[in-house]
């Protein structure tokens, strides 16, 4: 647990990293910024925030792309050659990236627990494979909507298995950003979707049969004749031409404009913590985007990049909007500054992996699973949010705070670099003077600075 690095070397490189830096010359698409910049407070006579420091950038982008904070070694290496676009590319190509993103997508698709016979891990493994190969998201969506077979064998089937009671509601939220669930009981108050629209959409899954045997759900379709009013109708009024209703639905969904908008907005949300339209699964006329042009631009880029998740992540990570200390814009509605990028609580997985990185500990999959479950709990099993939100209960906080801290021989500076990827301030050194190292480590691991991606 002792670093090969000397404290002097650490201080030297960290000192050079403080303060804003000029952004390296771009071969980079600046369109996002040219759109966002029109709405920056600068226009109203204020200065927009500068780009964040290299060390903060590394922490931010590693949490977002590989799901953990940097090791002291990685931090040191990056500070010697702080090439941000190259770092983004390197992270996107790593196996850690596919693994991490598979967890993020699994949580958005089926939540955090195995309810109703869902095999989360089978789905996650399938997603990891797709992400490794950068399979276009429209293909993935089609596979998820039309999947058949056994839940324990065929990963994508589990999307449907998790949402068997009403798959079209989740499909609407996930792939179209439309909340059909409100139309379950009443016509949507703010939008044009009616109960009839919902019932017709629901029919797309009317052929699905799901026998359950020995812990596995078998999904298949029973194609048959249906009278005209029992046949599904897409929200646009389009009707299927064949008997393969789910395949038709997948085609309607992935070719629609809302699909591209929702996809672009979802990637933005992952990186910025807030959708341009937010909540991301509620596009409606009464919930306008913060920057309308930006939603359209992201949708257009999504199509141009053939729904490559990796390309979209690269595009946004390279923008100043992503890399500023903070990015606020002037809201069109209220004329007040609103944050485009917000503090993001770490997901249970990010939190665990970051603690393991900070403490330089080898951990087992079982340990990780226990930690994630304790943080999520069955309490959230009915959670329908797009991704994890901070909702810690007293009890989970207690078990977190009671976690034992290892004994370290590191200096205070080293502890700060390990945990917060930065040097302590003189005030912090003063506060820590004379305290046991384990207490300092405890205080940093449980600090909000550690727990949020900022």
């Amino acid at each position: 647990m002792i670093f090969s690095l000397t404290t002097a070397a650490l201080i030297a490189f960290a000192a050079s990293s403080t303060g804003p830096r000029a952004f390296p010359a771009p071969p980079i698409d600046r369109s996002i910024d040219s759109i966002v910049d029109q709405h920056l407070p600068g226009v109203a006579g204020q200065t927009p925030a500068e780009l964040c420091s290299d060390s903060l950038f590394l922490r931010r982008v590693m949490l977002d792309l590989v799901g953990r904070i940097p090791t002291v070694g990685e931090l040191q290496e990056f500070m010697q050659n702080p090439n941000r676009p190259a770092k983004i590319d390197q992270l996107l190509a790593s196996t850690e990236h596919a693994r991490f993103m598979s967890e993020i997508w699994t949580a958005s698709l089926v939540g955090y627990s195995n309810v109703f016979g869902t095999d989360r891990e089978a789905l996650r493994m399938w997603l990891e494979k797709q992400l490794e190969q950068d399979v276009p998201f429209d293909e993935m969506a089609t596979a998820l909507i039309t999947a058949r077979g056994a839940s324990s064998l065929n990963g994508p089937v589990n999307f449907l298995v998790r949402h068997l009671d009403d798959p079209v509601v989740k499909v609407g939220r996930m792939f179209l950003g439309v909340r059909l669930d409100c139309a379950q009981c009443h016509d949507h108050p703010f939008d044009r979707w009616t109960q009839e629209d919902y019932q017709r959409m629901r029919m797309f899954f009317g052929q699905v049969r799901t026998p359950y045997r020995d812990g596995t759900v078998f999904v298949h379709d029973e194609l048959g004749r249906a009278s005209r009013d029992q046949r599904p109708v897409f929200l646009t009024g389009a009707r299927p031409r064949t008997d393969h209703w789910r395949a038709e639905l997948a085609l309607f969904v992935t070719n629609s404009k809302p699909f591209a908008r929702t996809f672009g907005n979802r990637i933005w949300y992952h990186l910025m913590g807030r959708g341009v339209v937010d909540p991301i699964d509620d596009f409606n006329t009464e919930n306008p985007p913060a920057v309308p042009q930006l939603v359209e631009y992201l949708a257009e880029q999504s199509r141009r990049h053939k729904f490559s998740i990796r390309d979209m992540l690269r595009l946004i990570c390279n923008s100043h909007a992503y890399q500023r200390v903070e990015t606020s814009i002037i809201s069109l509605e209220s004329q007040e500054p609103v944050r485009l990028r917000v503090l993001k609580p770490l997901t249970p997985g990010q939190y665990f992996d970051s603690i393991a990185t900070a403490l330089d500990r080898q951990v087992t999959a079982a340990e990780r699973q226990r930690f994630v479950q304790s943080m999520v709990g069955d309490v959230l099993q009915e959670d329908f949010n797009p991704t994890w939100k901070y909702r810690e209960t007293v009890q989970t906080a207690m078990s977190r705070l009671a976690m034992p801290m290892p004994q370290l021989n590191d200096s205070l500076e080293e502890i700060y670099l390990r945990v917060l990827s930065r040097q302590p301030t003189p005030r912090e050194l003063e506060l820590c003077r004379g305290r046991p190292k384990a207490d300092v480590l405890f205080a940093l691991i449980h600090s909000n600075e550690f727990f949020f991606n900022h």
Partner: protein, 411 residues
């Protein structure tokens, strides 16, 4: 009163006053303020949860001598005319304080969905999470430094729009939970350092999330200073008590539940699992009822002698009943059509049998009551009207129960 649906642009365009009036009318705490107090008779609730779905015929709706009746005889109880299974002799003596509901019918025969239904009073709808009964009842009291929804032996169900402060505090192992609290007491210095070092970041990034997480530390410090940890310390209970409740897991949980109710915890659920008896129903039931009978009897006796039964609602239930038909493995399968519930304490009369099933137990004779009716009944004891409105965190108003009606026969 009809509340006009406001469109958001109108609100922003100047109808701000109207918007706030609308919001104020829908705030739960305000609604509670007007209805709690005079109507509320109960202060505490304990639910004994029979996980897996208990057989009604082998417990509280015996059919001795019938083809569906199985292996147990019925016995008379402290309640005139109410007979229950011979496997529950201690409870038989307490039936003057408890009433049996024999006509509760539910449409759900799947474990997970039925557990959700019998914990929330609403059928599971993915898009609309419902709070557990414990969270709703926790919400009817002013906040305390200790949790007001404790689940013993299970994880409990989520608080949904009631918020994380009404989440179940679930205890698998009381000794371990107590050690955790004691350990945190000793970490005071560390927690102080955490607050001091974090202050700068927290100020710079002032937001609800940061404040929430920061205040968690003070909430834990407050909890550690209450007598909650002492209540968890079973060594502090008398040997006589421990013997009366029986030296079993469920027995000790019932004793712990009583200690928590003594402390003032509003809602406690104690779980006894193993009721999913698809095979070998009768030896299993004899054993399960054996585990249930003595501790529950001791709990009832204690609540009665201390006078606490007057304001403590006691509920015994599981996710559904079991088939009258005995299958080839000598087991009984899921039968939500007759879901047994026993209820007493607080405003509820003991000694009654509500509704009945036919001679073989295959159907309810006469009127049936529903799961929402049961929830309306339990909530009414806490001053919550069945149609009372709550506002969800996603803005949609909803009622306390799914159109439930209070079961009058219990009052």
């Amino acid at each position: 009163m009809n509340i006009p649906m406001l469109n958001r642009r109108q609100v922003l365009g100047g109808a701000i006053g109207g918007f706030f009036a609308y919001a104020a009318r829908n705030r739960c705490d305000q609604l509670f303020a007007s209805s709690i107090g005079d109507a509320a008779k109960a202060k505490r609730c304990i639910v004994l949860w029979m996980d897996g779905g208990p057989s009604q015929i082998d417990t509280f709706d015996p059919k001795p001598g019938k083809t569906t009746g199985g292996e147990f005889q019925s016995i008379s109880t402290a309640a005139d005319g109410v007979r229950i299974s011979e496997t529950l002799p201690h409870i038989a003596k307490q039936m003057d304080g408890l009433s049996v509901i024999r006509n509760l019918s539910s449409p759900i025969g799947d474990h997970q969905r039925a557990q959700y239904f019998l914990h929330t009073g609403f059928q599971f709808v993915q898009a609309f999470p419902r709070p557990a009964l414990g969270s709703v009842i926790s919400h009817t009291t002013t906040p305390t430094d200790f949790p007001n929804y404790v689940a013993l032996g299970s994880r409990g169900f989520g608080p949904a729009y009631m918020g994380p402060e009404h989440a179940p505090f679930s205890i698998e192992d009381p000794a371990q939970a107590r050690q955790l609290l004691v350990a945190l007491r000793k970490r005071r210095g560390r927690l102080q350092l955490l607050n001091n070092l974090g202050a700068e970041f927290d100020q710079r990034h002032a937001s609800t999330l940061v404040q929430q997480r920061q205040s968690m530390v003070s909430r834990i410090e407050a909890l550690a200073s209450t007598r909650f940890a002492e209540a968890l310390d079973m060594e502090r209970s008398s040997v006589a008590d421990r013997q009366r409740y029986g030296e079993t897991g469920f027995g000790q949980s019932c004793l712990l539940a009583r200690r928590l109710l003594d402390l003032g915890v509003r809602f406690v659920e104690v779980q006894l699992g193993g009721w999913d008896t698809h095979a070998n129903n009768f030896p299993a039931l004899r054993q399960l009822c054996g585990q249930l009978d003595q501790p529950w009897g001791a709990l009832m006796a204690d609540l009665k002698s201390s006078g606490m039964l007057d304001d403590t609602v006691v509920v015994w239930m599981g996710e559904f009943g079991r088939t009258p038909r005995i299958n080839a493995q000598r087991g009984r399968d899921h039968f939500p059509q007759a879901t047994p519930v026993v209820i007493g304490g607080g405003p509820f009369q003991g000694g009654r049998a509500i509704g009945q099933t036919n001679a073989l137990g295959t159907e309810i004779s006469g009127d049936a009551v529903s799961v929402p009716d049961l929830f309306a009944t339990i909530m009414s004891a806490f001053g919550i009207k069945p149609g009372q409105e709550f506002t969800t965190d996603f803005g949609s108003p909803t009622t306390a129960t799914d159109d439930g009606k209070v079961i009058q026969g219990l009052l």
